[in-house]
């Protein structure tokens, strides 16, 4: 992409104006520096500087498309290594979402054994499904940690080479949220220790409210650390060997998500057959129906996260041959 050094002095001044215009906030900074001024001129000519809502929507989608192209997630203009890295980062983000939603499923499926009839056959399938789910989740977590550890030396070199300023804001936000989450966790644990199981499971509204705040903090903390990882990994230049390993690990994590989604579906089917009453845990559930609204939403979000991870792996696979040639 061309840089803006070719413009005249006057147009350089205008370009700064275009680059900082809030209407183009969805576009990446380098794109705004190159095309922002022209696009603002077009908006002025076509709409007198006040484009309708539909045009704003078009600018937002156009900006996001440019960001996806620049990061290597779509198109063929970015280097192949960027495409592989973008694919792996998509898998990481999808895994974070999967874990967050998975906690909801873990809570939902608690004590499911007690709801099943005593015959051996009724326990076998849901037990096996949940065991597979938990085992694969453990393996996938190890893969995520391995991927993070593998990136640490390159990341430390990047920080030493004055890269700290580019991730400082993200890092401090994540750290502050982690501190807050810890500060809420300690009193919550102490309080929970003095409550009965009934009070902990909806009997005490104040505890329920604090639990929800704590859960939200944990979710936000996880998301913020993922943002730190993505922001850092986007800027760091990995060696081909590390990138290759990260891509393979990402594919393994995506495969784990597919297996976990399958195991969840099998567990749901087995529970619907032998203990449908257990599946109406949320207030939205109809008695005797396996279609509980909370479970449907949870499984649907798990499927979306899995689909997103698969998209990331497909991206890796598509640009892989170019990286090998390059």
């Amino acid at each position: 992409m061309r840089t803006e050094g070719q413009g005249t002095k006057d147009s350089q001044g205008d370009m700064n104006e275009g680059a900082s215009d809030p209407r183009l906030r969805w576009y990446p900074p380098s794109w705004r520096a190159r095309y922002g001024n022209e696009l603002i001129a077009l908006l002025d000519d076509e709409y007198g500087g006040h484009p309708p809502a539909l045009v704003h929507l078009g600018l937002a989608t156009g900006g996001l498309r440019q960001r996806a192209r620049q990061s290597g997630l779509t198109g063929d203009s970015a280097p192949a290594a960027d495409g592989v890295r973008a694919g792996a980062l998509v898998v990481l983000a999808a895994w974070t979402a999967f874990v967050i939603v998975g906690v909801s499923f873990a809570k939902f499926s608690e004590h499911f054994d007690e709801a099943l009839p005593h015959s051996m056959g009724a326990h076998r399938v849901p037990d096996l499904a949940l065991t597979v789910l938990q085992t694969v989740a453990g393996v996938a977590s190890i893969l995520v940690v391995a991927g993070a550890l593998l990136a640490v030396p390159t990341f430390v070199r990047y920080l030493r080479a004055d890269g700290w300023s580019s991730v400082r804001g993200h890092f401090l936000r994540a750290l502050a949220c982690t501190g807050l989450a810890v500060a809420v966790t300690v009193p919550l644990l102490v309080w929970a220790h003095h409550l009965t199981p009934h009070q902990r499971n909806g009997g005490l509204h104040w505890y329920g409210a604090l639990f929800l705040i704590w859960a939200a903090l944990i979710v936000i903390t996880l998301m913020l650390w993922t943002v730190v990882a993505v922001a850092a990994a986007r800027r760091v230049v990995f060696s081909r060997a590390i990138l290759t390993t990260e891509a393979i690990l990402a594919a393994g994590i995506a495969l784990a998500m597919v297996i976990m989604d399958g195991a969840t579906a099998v567990w749901w089917g087995a529970m619907a057959k032998d203990a449908p009453a257990f599946l109406n845990a949320s207030p939205g559930g109809a008695p005797g129906s396996p279609w509980d609204i909370w479970l449907i939403a949870t499984v649907a979000l798990m499927a979306v996260a899995m689909g997103t991870a698969v998209v990331g792996v497909v991206r890796e696979v598509r640009v892989w041959p170019k990286m090998r040639v390059g």
Binding site: M1, T8, L39, A41, L42, L43, V55, G58, G63, S77
Partner: protein
């Protein structure tokens, strides 16, 4: 195709495309296309003191357009031949 008729800036491109193709592109879509075409070397910007930077088609762009037009011409030829066949076989459709 619009730039084959001469160099134009964004606003002129929108008007021209609307006139010859009957399609009103949004500014976001137009600049998405400009970005891709410039990256592929099919169009290039011209120097300008104005905010409205004009673009012109390159030799590679001209060749790509010629290839596309040839493909479309072949499609039109095939379509006409097939229409002739169907009208011969079923005169009531003519």
């Amino acid at each position: 195709m619009s730039l084959a008729g001469g160099a134009k800036h964004g606003h002129a491109l929108l008007k021209d495309i609307e006139e010859f193709a009957g399609v009103k592109l949004g500014p976001g879509a137009l600049y998405g296309a400009i970005t891709r075409l410039e990256e592929r070397g099919l169009i290039e910007p011209l120097a300008s003191d104005d905010r409205r930077r004009p673009y012109q088609i390159t030799a590679a762009g001209s060749q790509a357009l010629a290839d596309s037009v040839a493909q479309m011409r072949e499609l039109v030829r095939l379509g006409q031949a097939r229409l002739k066949m169907v009208r011969t076989a079923r005169p009531r459709l003519a």
